[in-house]
């Protein structure tokens, strides 16, 4: 692994040397300069001596995402600049959350930098398990002025801050849910466009079912993320008034209708085994052209057009998540780097965070890999961002911003950052599985889930409305 990294590092240096002066070179130079500057600003007294973090091994963890696949290429340069060694482990989403939750609850020192998962942010910040980063920002020895924390889009910082606005993490991903039809050509053959309403979505699925053995719809098994836009579109809500009133509101006709609707999408129009799909499997089902439409965060959608191994590069089309009778409620979220309070290498961890979500690294991600989930406004506003997210002639950047702004304005994503959401979300997952497999109707499954969620919330000391 180390050798491999060294090789990649020296390869990157060789490329730098060989390249002519153009934008890429400027970016790379800026990155190298930034890393050197970071070290220099951190501790001028040690210039000419050993590197500031020599001998430090930084342990990082997150759930697997394309972001870390890209970041891995740059880590050797960061290690070279700072002297620290970075061990960054990624796991499947539920595995990472479970392990990290346990590690944080013991306030252990096994991890130095972690992803602060959106649905766990309320819990981890509220319990005091992650470090307040305000003192790090305020210390000029730790953070240069031009790092510019205000540059992060406001909505992406909401889940990573406490009630006073103090930051506990900085985002590497802004998830904006959009729709992608991997085989939009099949829709065109039927004279159909990308669906904009729930009725149209069902109609498109119905019309294209069986065409070239492509499943009309696909999804991963995280229903408490994927299904909520449908719940809200039918007029339902997750809680009565989050975060003040966490009484679940699922034993309603709207929730039942949404569960039946989504269950039908999965059971009648999904590929075989769709209920066991992880994010990656769902993306593969689209990339290989075995499944057509999916509503999910943009991170999982852009590779359909960008990845060299995608078989649907020319046929993929993007659109907004269809709206229901009550409107459109595409999910939006953000995941960011934070520091566990038990970490023994907090300054090194902050150095890593500054670098990983710094302007230069972010710009490089965009420029070299087309990474779409950018959180820095100064980069979102560039022509490069728009160019990169113009896919098959479509302005996906506008879709992305539209969703982020919608989530920020409406405040309908508040349900997701309450500390009890992980256990409540589990009930929703089970309910949707039951509906999709015909074990229960929407009404039955949601009523059962409601009862279980109420019992669980009471267990964690939450006041629930009577009745």
């Amino acid at each position: 692994m180390d050798l491999d990294r060294q090789n990649r590092s020296s390869g990157a240096r060789a490329t730098l040397g060989a390249a002519r002066l153009h934008r890429r070179q400027l970016l790379q130079s800026a990155l190298a300069g930034s890393a050197a500057l970071a070290v220099g600003l951190r501790a001028p007294a040690v210039l000419g001596q050993a590197k500031q973090f020599a001998g430090v091994t930084l342990q990082g963890a997150s759930f697997a995402s394309t972001f870390f696949g890209y970041l891995e290429n740059y880590i050797p340069e960061f290690e070279e600049a700072t002297g620290m060694k970075v061990n960054f482990e990624t796991n499947a989403f539920p595995v990472f959350n479970q392990r990290t939750d346990l590690e944080l609850s013991t306030q252990g020192s096994a991890l130095d930098v972690i992803n602060v998962t959106f649905i766990y942010s309320g819990r981890w910040i509220g319990a005091g398990w992650v470090e307040n980063l305000k003192p790090y920002l305020e210390d000029p020895n730790l953070t240069p002025d031009d790092w510019d924390p205000q540059d992060f889009v406001g909505g992406t910082m909401a889940s990573l801050s406490d009630a006073n606005g103090d930051p506990y993490g900085f985002p590497w991903e802004a998830g904006a849910m959009i729709m992608a039809a991997a085989r939009a050509d099949l829709l065109e053959q039927k004279g159909l466009g990308l669906p904009t309403t729930f009725d149209e979505l069902m109609n498109v699925c119905d019309q294209t079912k069986g065409m070239e053995r492509v499943a009309p719809f696909t999804a991963d098994k995280l229903h408490h993320w994927n299904w909520i836009p449908y719940l809200m579109g039918f007029g339902g809500t997750v809680f009565k008034d989050p975060p003040a009133n966490l009484t679940p509101t699922w034993d309603t006709p709207q929730a039942a209708e949404a569960a039946d609707f989504y269950g039908r999408l999965l059971s009648e129009y999904g590929p075989p085994g769709v209920l066991s799909f992880t994010d990656d499997q769902a993306m593969q089902s689209q990339k290989t052209g075995r499944a057509n439409m999916r509503t999910q965060a943009i991170t999982w959608m852009v590779p359909l057009a960008k990845d060299p191994d995608s078989r649907v590069k020319d046929t993929v089309r993007y659109g907004l998540v269809p709206s229901g009778p009550s409107g459109a409620f595409p999910g939006s979220n953000s995941h960011g780097f934070g520091i566990p309070v038990g970490s023994k290498n907090k300054e090194a961890a902050w150095e890593f965070i500054k670098w990983a979500v710094g302007k230069q690294t972010t710009l490089r991600m965009l420029e070299q890999h087309g990474y779409p989930s950018i959180c820095r406004r100064s980069i979102i506003d560039t022509e490069l961002f728009k160019e990169t997210l113009t896919l098959n002639g479509q302005d996906v950047a506008s879709l992305y911003l539209e969703v982020l702004e919608l989530g920020g304005k409406g405040g309908y994503m508040k349900y997701r950052t309450v500390p009890q959401f992980p256990q409540v979300g589990d009930k929703l997952n089970k309910a949707i599985e039951k509906v999709a497999t015909g074990q229960a109707t929407g009404l039955e499954a949601m009523a059962e889930a409601q009862a279980e969620a109420v019992a669980d919330l009471k267990k964690s000391g939450v006041q629930i409305d009577a009745g």
Partner: protein, 318 residues
């Protein structure tokens, strides 16, 4: 022997009272010596098994939630978690799932293990090699077994699904079909553990005196009669032990469920220890999870007691 001889000699010379005192003292010293020898082992045993169990019981009397520090050592309602155990329908469902999983997997493991042992109990080089092959599932790490079956059950990458599709019929994904998900787990569990029963039965068969078979043959017994009236009664004890061991072990079924179905679809494959795991490690309800685990421990102890009663301490049942 020497000590006994000395005491007898003392009695003969009329020094009974001092001799009895000496013997008592010696006996005390001997007991103390043995106790001292046992003490380190007992302490180690206590630290390793008893203390965690006591801690488990203590935690089960609190509503311990890692995200809420005020719940640590809160004994205000010591039986609240047990009330939750009684009122949690999903937990009750998990016990029923556990019962179904244990019944079918143990039954099939015993039947298959017995049949394969009979078939392989022949001296042949090919069959000798086959025995080793059949043992492979049992020696694989459980997580590897789970991944093998995950591949087999995932339609996109499964040779099984490719084959059925090539033959012209489509088999649904077994692990996401509520009618098949538990069966899929049972199939994988049987595949992994029937070699354990086979191994035990095979060992017993090879120790079976040939006179039994020969005498029955002389009396004109057919192959079926030999199996049902001679071999099976001889193996009764070993089959019982194997079944009870597998029964206790089946309560610990975890990797297959974790990897293959995650307890789903819905709660179709959610067994009790998996549910307890979710409560503790996904939701941090350690108090509630401990109460569930205490109930599981009681069930396991009862089954172990049953094993000991039926089989005896090291005695052969047959």
């Amino acid at each position: 022997m020497q000590r006994s001889g000395e005491l007898t000699a003392e009695r003969a010379t009329g020094h009974t009272a001092p001799a009895a005192g000496l013997a008592r003292r010696f006996e005390e010293q001997r007991r103390r010596f043995y106790s001292n020898l046992l003490l380190p082992a007992l302490v180690a045993l206590m630290v390793v098994t008893l203390l965690p169990t006591i801690y488990l019981v203590v935690v089960s009397l609190t509503p311990l939630d890692l995200a809420r520090p005020e719940t640590h050592w809160d004994f205000s309602r010591p039986f609240a978690q047990y009330e939750n155990v009684l009122n949690d329908s999903r937990l009750h469902n998990s016990l029923w799932v556990q019962a179904k999983l244990s019944f079918w997997s143990v039954l099939l493991q015993v039947v298959l293990g017995f049949v394969f042992a009979l078939l392989l109990n022949v001296s042949s080089k090919v069959l000798m090699a086959l025995r080793t092959v059949f043992l492979i599932p049992m020696v694989l790490p459980p997580i590897v077994v789970a991944i093998i079956w995950k591949v087999l059950y995932t339609p996109d990458i499964s040779p099984f699904h490719w084959a059925t599709e090539a033959l012209g019929f489509v088999v649904p994904s077994l692990i996401t079909d509520p009618n098949w998900a538990l069966t899929a787990i049972i199939i994988a569990d049987v595949w992994e553990w029937f070699p354990f029963v086979m191994l035990m039965v095979l060992a017993s068969l090879q120790m079976m005196p040939s006179e039994y078979i020969e005498a029955a043959k002389v009396d004109g017994a057919s192959v079926l009669q030999l199996t049902f009236y001679v071999t099976l009664p001889y193996l009764k004890g070993v089959l019982l032990v194997a079944a009870l061991f597998r029964l206790v072990d089946s309560i610990k079924a975890f990797p297959l469920i974790y990897i293959l179905t995650d307890g789903g679809p819905g709660t179709v494959t959610e067994v009790t220890n998996f549910y307890s795991f979710i409560q503790a490690f996904n939701f941090s309800y350690l108090g509630f999870s401990s109460a569930i685990t205490v109930v599981l421990v009681v069930i396991t102890i009862f089954l172990s007691w049953l094993i000991i009663r039926m089989v005896g301490w090291g005695q052969r049942v047959d």
